[in-house]
């Protein structure tokens, strides 16, 4: 009986997943790393919104507005794609800031359901993230979290723009960044 229920749930999931709604289901990513360096040192590496050289996937950053709310930065990726982000909240005392993606270049164009779809460099929509350094004695813990939707906003997404693709891409960015931040801070 239990098995039948499970199969039924899987089937139900399969059939409803292809028709899931952009509005209702936002995705979440959370990554954390412990760094053997004081929080101040780690914070100094990431505190300037206009400098994302600590992330190995970012080739260049140009910025406007410093660390104030409303400040923007354009990240150029190693492969040439660009992501424009806006500062939403900056808290020096808490060693934390939150920002949003406001524009992205197109990585490729695909045809799905007879319509041309532009896949953004980061295959997500409505992406916002928070990065925070927490002091733990002489060491620190960095939390990097993001909330976002898949890139395809209608029913029945192509694989390039579905939840799995979005989740994998975001997790990769957060992980790669935190691992490199640890390397830099522990030097």
């Amino acid at each position: 009986m239990k098995k039948i229920t499970l199969i039924a749930s899987v089937l139900l999931f399969f059939f409803t997943a292809v028709a899931s709604a952009h509005g209702p289901v936002r995705q979440k990513a959370e990554e954390q790393i412990t760094i053997n360096a004081p929080a101040e040192k780690v914070w100094a590496l990431i505190k300037n919104f206009g400098d994302m050289s600590w992330h190995p996937d970012i080739f260049n950053t140009t910025a406007d507005g410093g660390n104030k709310k409303g400040a923007t930065r354009v990240l150029t990726l190693k492969d040439g794609g660009t992501i424009k982000e806006e500062m939403k909240k900056y808290d020096e005392a808490k060693m934390s800031y939150a920002y949003k993606i406001i524009e992205m270049s197109t990585a490729k164009t695909i045809t799905h359901a007879g319509v041309e779809e532009k896949v953004p460099v980061l295959p997500v929509d409505n992406y916002s993230a928070t990065i925070e350094v927490e002091a733990k004695g002489d060491t620190s813990v960095v939390n990097w979290t993001a909330g976002y939707y898949r890139a395809y906003t209608n029913n029945n997404p192509p694989v390039e723009m579905n939840e799995e693709t979005a989740n994998a891409a975001v997790a990769a960015i957060l992980k790669t960044g935190l691992i490199n931040l640890k390397t830099l801070a522990e030097k």
Binding site: G23, V25, K88, S128
Partner: protein, 316 residues
Amino acid sequence: MKRKVVMITVATTFFTLPLAAAPFAYISNQLDDSISIIDTKKNKVVDTITVSGKPAGVAVAPAGDRVYISTPEAKGFAVLDVKKREIIAKVPVSDGALGIAAGIDGKRIYVADWYNDKVDVIDADNLRIIKSIPVGNSPSGLVVSPDNRWLYVANRLSDSVSKISLNKLAINKTTLVGSHPFGLTIDARGERIYVANVQSDDVTVVETSRMLPIATVKVNMLPYAAALALNDSRLFVTNQDDGSVSVIDTATLKEIGLIEVGNKPEGISTHPDDRHVYVANWFDSTVSVIDAKTLQVIDTIKTGNGSRAFGQFFGK
């Protein structure tokens, strides 16, 4: 003899407490496919019920015996029996079932369909669709007037609110509000609705008899939903992207406070005591309890992953 009576009374009180407990809050955890039931006397989760289909919207039946939970990925809603703490029905409605509300008389359930631009009217007894009412684009929040004559719906992509006659089951009037209205609430006299506009970062106050916007109050980043407390004197609005709740004095229509809550606050409802406001923090998977008088967060309750609780989530 006297002593014995007192003891019996005490014992009875003790054993009946769980049944006559303080009101419960029903919080949908969208990423966990579950509902957290919070006993508001202890401010603790006392039970977690599995609800598949990415539960989002919540509406408690006026009698307090049932909770209706919209499940967008299951294209409908689930019915929770409060006493049994079991899902007793799953009702297919349509593709984008999200916003949900219960009629004041308990006889009907209203479901907004995000994709198909309609509100479905469901008979609460036999759970059948009575009628589909075409509304604006991407309808989201729903609220029923206290006299049960009107249903208000926020049409997110039409930047409008429609007033639906529950007698005729047809739109009576539609008015433009701010950009991308999502959640809305109504005062006890049914004279005003307050609409949170996600994109314009403000709240539109609409006078209901003429459907006339009488004020726009700036709040913070990405306001999501709103709730009234303290005899409708204060309005609380969740600001998703700011991790805060804006407090508006409804007499002056000015923001009088900003309360820091968890990350990505979404659903908000006022406890039946009219003093405590509960906020579901989507990212943190917690519920913040705000004292509407002191404007302090007095408790934070761990719930399930992706707490959303969009709608009126307090039971009895």
